[in-house]
Symmetry: D3
Subunit: 247 residues, 6 copies
């Protein structure tokens, strides 16, 4: 059986935030997920500044993946930094978890809410929803107000806080699907669905963007589907002093 | 290896329009796709009348699938007839190919076009896009003006006509993704992508809704994700003379 | 004076939920309203499942009405079940009270709220508003949480609960028109307008969908206006085993 | 039998453009339509300037109608000039034909087109559609390029030109309902529907705004429904030198 | 140095509500702002009735300004009364402070709130936002419930009330820009920004529409830019008994 | 007289594409415009790849400007690259010409068209319009199909081609304002307005984004208005290996 390799590009420099052993088996028996982190860029992504500084090295990692024969790349951040540039630059499929997760949420229910780390990210999430054309089925974002690098400090408190925010979205904004607004919430879906059920809100799917993105990308690869290279055409060749793109 | 069974419910009565051997291997090694057709209902679906008459027997097939331990159901028609009712009635995941394909299209590019069989279906497609929240990224539908039951009459003419319509959408409406507007177009993607490339429009993904839906549903099953039962709650028990729902 | 006959098709099987004597005189001196109920279908409509099971017999009633020379049909349910199929199948005008009432609400003020029986129907109402193109002037639905078959149990409590919900919509969502979200609320407008006035919210029109629909349809009949048969064309002839449509 | 009187206020000064004998019998046996024209104001309405200069005298006519016990007022111009101010000033129902006709069009099909006199009015029509919340179901306006005061010069040419524009909207923009964009097109529906049918476009309803508005208003009066006085509250009393409003 | 003259037309008759000495130096060293008030019209503008009665004399003032060689006109009211008519009638640039301020707000942040005098004006503000195409970035309006003619009665209370409303918009609706909903709030920005900062909401720009409009118009004049005369074409010549437009 | 300095940051590395002598006198007598170009980054901006590679050095230039006491920064590219990040990072006002020009266009007419260099940039422009909330008043973009670095090759051909595209937008999409979709079109407005007038399309304002942005920013500076620092808060401090932000 041929194995498909999906490269997860983690657009930050804090070692240990994403461990390959947590994700390598996602996507079914014939899929292998490999992980690369940035050498240059932000410790975590919590602002436009962090996003834009992550992208140059992310493009380098994308080119490396393509050169290695990797089958597709997923950017491991719910801001989808660099996805559009990478889609232009590379010939292999490139996906962002926000775009995938928001559209998957749109398949599951009537209205979804993205619950993220910090309120300061709400406008970024709303901008993504507009760009991806799903703003009419997205309720306003909510957040737990815990910085990315403190997500692992107190997991129980994080889960508890998340459940409160998700329940408020279900009750007050009548959403029926919840989406993690940070890929650092990895692995929490079961506890949150259970917590919602304990509050009388059973049956609300909670989307963990990285596993769901890997599944979707693996399925699209099996069908030979790439992102639209007509819509993200290879950039014109030109000088770009300070950067080596091979383009 | 456990096998996942996805039941494809074909909401019409013309034997032979969907052959199980064409679809049973979709979705990866651990997935099996089985097919059921209606006993009562329309020969093909080309109107609201056809859709509504397909649904009662479709619900029976859904209940049968659930009783048999099938893992998920996909309705094999781009009008998504009965999907919402089946989502209420059943506890297993239920998906419609229009909702899946439109949202997948939204992941791949900037704007998509659904190319369907008959112009009379355009309002139904536009209604679905509004309901699913993707109308802002969908261009107006186009059609080849060939009835469903004549799709197989002249495959070359069908492909040629489809390519013309798809190319017009790419050029005039600046779409970068094409979606089959009828699940009867099954298997035509390669020829159409090639035809578009021959016209200078390479890199436009063409979405075949049934294979893509099977992949997506198989992936969601691996992640334990169902449609939102909070959003599609089981209907209240009541008398429904003439119908046996076990509810 | 010629009399115009409008057939009210009640898409459920609970005898007594709509009495002809309550509605026969609506629409002016030259209009007669007759009533038919389903022989097969749900006891009440509170879900997609109920809706889809009501439609086959509703189409039979529509064909019977047309054969009897009835001038127009109105479906007596705020989910507008089967309206689009009946518009295709019949040559006489067919209307749904949700579509009529929502657009009439749009003529009267700046923003309206549909107050219905159960929260589980909110997504259906929101879907209708999107389909009919009035979602930008509709506030989120509200509900009294009383099942359809219990509407008559305690009329005072129902009116009181409705007034609370309507007042909240006027104050919190700044709506200035209220629409009944269930045709079973028939006849309650006066008490509700009075109740709102007692709370300092005079001048908010409350739309009772069936009387308003009869008036609108009677007026359109006088002007010779049918729903668009170009937009709802007669379905292609084909086999539909199990159903007799004469088409 | 009590007679209901509806006052048609023609917001211009060209005597003969609206003759009472043409409209007095609209709305059924128990309705009488009376007509008043401006003493001060534009000869016809083809601009914002014309609209704003029509309104002061229109308000005087509205106050006179109310003092005379007239039951409702309709403004006889598809720009709906002064409707919002009259709704504030008067306690009797006030309606504009654009708002009524656009929402009636929304009840009849999937998408409508307003065909008007001059292209320079397109932005005014688009603004009205946004204000009334129906812009998502209105195609772009079209026009015959004939000034209001020349409408009666060559009726056959007008009808012919209108049919061409309407047919283009049906074919190119997939509309299925046509709305007169000028109340001066009064009485032309039959010829236009016939002309469309002759071109293979049968079944497209054509809305003549004044007759349809009279029917709708008469029906609402029978149900005791006024425009929302909560949404159009009586203006605060204050000095308005140069104007006598009794308010 | 040539001086540019911008005429501020105050569309009301209460002497003293706008003093030329307060505004004459706005817009930079080479700009002079002159003020004219109505001779005929409302004492203040708080309704559609007030707006429409202000416009005829406003057009006279506009023609006078143009005849005097004034370079541009700004209407001094956040309802933008008469702006569209004046844009048609005049060849000099005409601007309304609502249109300018809403679009400037759109340049500064993600979402803005208009805080106005009276809740009864909320629908007018929402209508303007739709007309100007910025409704998707405007939160619902808020108001201090103080009539225009009482704005100067208790400035401290007004500022305090405004800060409360603005803070609620920032916190509850996540707006990041505030716009004065009445040009009578002139000169209050500093106190309000300070008050918001004292509540922990620093960095929210507060837009005072008249100074900002003068700056924008002065800048456009320096670049030779007028409103679109193609979009607001000179009205056709015709009789308009009772009005002298020279057109 | 104090002089205000506005720093124009040209986010590319081709020396000579923007000469300081062309822009230094924009914005009135008390304004000075200074220019800086990138040391590292693309030769021109025609893709997402170009945009993201321009931003790191653009942020350095922004910090330098702030340290030098410059009053505001404008990014000299219609893709507005790095504007959001710079708004977070800096305390001085930061503006992008696309956001300014689109909103100014919204003040001038009913609908605008951005005419740009290459069709491949259309999705970027549409994304910006959605992000800035003006997509409902923007027609689809058009382009002259001339690469940025060839703009100066044949100015007459460029102007001629631009006029054709602009005229098509005015006639076919009924736009009444044109916006340059590339800041490299600097200085062409007069010829284009004349060309449109020669085709019978007089009175269509053409917006040259850099001069207009300088005027708007200079005016906002005079009023003490910055972009919303509440909406673009300073990023959290953290390690960003490879980048020196002083934050």
């Amino acid at each position: 059986m041929m194995t498909t390799e999906i490269r997860l590009c983690v657009p930050l420099t804090t070692v240990g935030l994403r461990r390959e052993e947590d994700v390598e088996d996602l996507g079914g028996a014939d899929v292998h997920v490999s992980v690369r982190m940035l050498e240059r860029g932000p410790a975590s992504i919590e602002s436009h500044v962090d996003e834009v500084l992550a992208v140059p090295d992310l493009l380098r990692i994308g080119m490396e993946a393509q050169a290695q024969g990797v089958d597709a790349m997923i950017v491991d951040c719910m801001g989808d930094p660099g996805v559009e540039a990478a889609r232009e630059l590379l010939d292999i499929p490139v996906f962002g978890p926000a775009q995938v997760a928001m559209h998957i949420a749109g398949m599951l229910g009537h209205r979804f809410c993205v619950v993220t780390v910090l309120e300061r990210l709400h406008p970024l999430i709303e901008d993504l929803a507009r760009r991806y054309g799903v703003d009419s089925i997205m309720a306003r974002p909510r957040s737990v107000e815990i910085p990315v690098l403190e997500i692992d400090n107190d997991p129980d408190q994080l889960v508890g806080s998340f459940i409160q925010k998700a329940a408020a979205a279900v009750r007050d904004d009548e959403v029926d699907v919840i989406v993690f607004g940070c890929t650092g919430f990895y692995g929490m879906t079961e506890k949150i669905e259970q917590g919602l059920a304990d509050m009388g809100l059973a049956g609300v799917p909670v989307i963990d963007p990285i596993p769901v993105s890997v599944e979707v990308v693996a399925g699209l690869l099996r069908q030979g589907i790439c992102h639209s290279k007509h819509g993200f055409q290879t950039p014109p060749q030109k000088d770009r002093p300070g950067f080596e793109l091979g383009n």
